[in-house]
Amino acid sequence: MKRSLLILLLGLFVGVATCLGVYRACTASHRAMLNEAAPELAWLKKEFNLSDTEFTRISELHSAYLPQCHRRCQIIAAQNEKLQQLLATNATVTTEIESLLAERANTRAECESAMLKHFWETSRAMPPEQGKRYLAWVKAQAFANSEGMEMRHHQ
């Protein structure tokens, strides 16, 4: 009985140890990515097979784009706040509200246009095939949900 129990436990140990070992080995690259300073960029490098030079260029483009994006976000946040104040003090759509809505729409359009420019610039820094794949993926991610509102009045 002792020998049987020992073999039974040894088998279980081998199974569990192999499972953990294989799991750790196969997820090592992903765990390493999560420890990077910018995991999302590390993922981009892996997903689109970028060389170190291409990755450096794309990281530069990304770092240059983010402050501009942040500035536009701040403008939109300020416009939203102003709109909330106007909506709280007015019972009808005033000319001031109308002009603020137009201004806000303009900022949003500017924001989307800058984002698209960034996507194209990033895709050009990749090998042609990967750039094409990146563009198709990122455009679907960024603009796929914009159809929601239009679909509501489709019927």
Binding site: M1, R3, S4, I7, L8, L10, G11, L12, V14, G15, V16, A17, T18, C19, L20, G21, V22, Y23, A25, C26, T27, H30, M33, L34, P39, E40, L41, A42, W43, L44, E47, H62, Y65, L66, C69, R72, C73, I76, R108, C111, E112, M115, H118, F119, W137, V138, Q141, A142
Partner: protein, 75 residues
């Protein structure tokens, strides 16, 4: 009645383990099966986790460049 049959099954299994496992060939077979089982489950779990992380990191990249992208509460 069910408890009795369960007990009988356990006794049979116990007797089989006691008689079969100490045989070298059977023990090797058992450990090999455990090894393959561990490998298969480990690979399956790793594939699931990698795919989850790929989706999450891809989403994180889009969120970093697209201010209109809402944060997925599942991530």
């Amino acid at each position: 009645m069910e408890a009795k049959s369960g007990l009988k099954l356990w006794a049979t299994l116990n007797a089989w383990i006691e008689s079969a496992l100490p045989r070298t060939r059977m023990a090797l077979c058992y450990v090999t099966v455990q090894l393959f089982l561990g490998m298969t489950i480990g690979l399956w779990m790793a594939r699931q986790q990698s795919s989850r992380l790929d989706t999450a990191l891809g989403s994180r990249y889009v969120q970093s460049v697209d201010p209109y992208r809402t944060v997925d509460p599942n991530q």
